[in-house]
């Protein structure tokens, strides 16, 4: 179950190693950018975070969820699709997960910003 995250970390570390060898600073001496994949967003703190982590993070980072702005109907469809694809969310907790997703990542969600990351290497 954890293999996807480990693989992702390995990619991030490999890219990070390249950057440690030579993060090209901009002419203006700006702070070095993180490597692609090195910096990940997290689900909002609260009682539902553990369930969201358990259900979603095996296959993709929280970023994928954090950028969405979906209605309850759309979130229900997404959660059902993902449960069918193996997401670890018990049937009796799907409604609670949907409510959490709608609360934080509903149509009014304007909180997501992409991570500015260093170019990926040639």
């Amino acid at each position: 179950m954890r293999s996807a995250r480990r693989a992702a970390s390995a990619i991030g570390l490999a890219l990070g190693a390249l950057l440690l060898a030579g993060p090209a600073p901009h002419a203006n001496d700006e702070k070095p950018l993180p490597a692609l994949g090195a910096e990940l967003g997290a689900f909002p703190e609260g009682p539902m975070k553990a369930l969201a982590d358990q259900a979603c993070l095996h296959c993709h980072s929280a970023d994928m969820v954090r950028q969405q702005r979906l209605t309850e109907k759309q979130w229900t469809a997404e959660v059902n699709k993902m449960a069918g694809w193996g997401a670890a969310v018990p049937e009796d907790r799907r409604a609670a997960l949907v409510a959490y997703l709608v609360e934080h990542f509903g149509p009014g969600n304007d909180s997501f910003r992409p991570v500015e990351a260093a170019p990926a290497g040639k």
Partner: protein
Amino acid sequence: MARQEPPARSSRGLSRRAFLATTAAGLAGAAIAGTPAPPRPRMLQMNGYPLDAETPLDLLGRSYRTPNDLFYVRHHWNPTMPDPAMWVLRVDGEVERPLALSLADLKALPRASATCVLQCAGNGRAFQRPIVPGVQWRYGAVGNAQWTGVRVKDVLERAGLKSGAKHLHTFGTDAPPEKVPPFHRSLELEKVREDGIIAFEMNGAPLPPLHGAPARLVVPGWAGDHWMKWLARISPQAARQTGFYMDVGYRWPNAPGEPGVAFKPEEMHSVTELFVKSTITEAPSTARVGTSTTLRGVAFSGAPDVAKVELSDDGGATWTPAALGRDHDPYAWRLWSFAYTPKKAGKATLLARATDSRGSVQPKDAVWNQSGYLYNGWQSVDIEVGA
């Protein structure tokens, strides 16, 4: 994995040179236009894993060929990167002689090269209204590169393609987690035999691992879902491939419908050609009445060339042509620039639209679809005009 840049901490000059090399075209343009220094080389990471990252708009149109390290990255899941020394491309299905070709075998075949646009089918999804789920790409899930390798046609002829084959099934080495369906695809043999390439170089360098090394499919004019990365197997077949990513994903409505009303699977077909689209990549935020200022951008299509790009400052009532860049190749993008001299003070809203070599005109509004594919509505920029 990739060539390392010189150490920056001990020698800032070297890394600055590397930086300058990647943005020389942009600097030259900036010097002429008198605009500020070029923006910082960077990517906009949409998703940490699987990795999804787009090119920032202010870096998108700075060169005809998008540098490899600034080219958008889109992964369905965390890929298994093949070892080029161990990698083989299998050719089976409706062929007389199934093949297993090493990278050296491929490189022994006649070379083919194409400079053309690769755009994610979902580029611009963030602009779809009503909002749809998926990676919320804005402008930068697109780039233009020189792809070099061998013709698909040559590989299939070597294998002895049988006459009954109509579709090319394609498989990569990336495998999904859990019960997620595999990303297996097929496309019409007629198209891929005409101009498909199995590419192992990108802009003259070995294809980077993030972009499908050691080899990927290149399908000029068609959306990125057909450009299978980490290519492992191609298989001509009589019937199209089936599965989630053929029957549910990457589908386009047969006819436009009401925005927000999902199409049924039978009301859609596979996404294939890109749609004509212009993107404004650089525009000033302020200008003065009677003084010329420059807007720049890129334009491309699923047709072989862009015929014109036009801009409007009156909501689309009248249009004035932009100057197209000299560089062009079949299915590549055209850089464009537009000298704009405002006639009155206040907020000016500029729109850009492209027309392709087949006469298709970029529409004001893109066709809504529930997956947000192929967004190509007009882009606008606001410029504050002082007296």
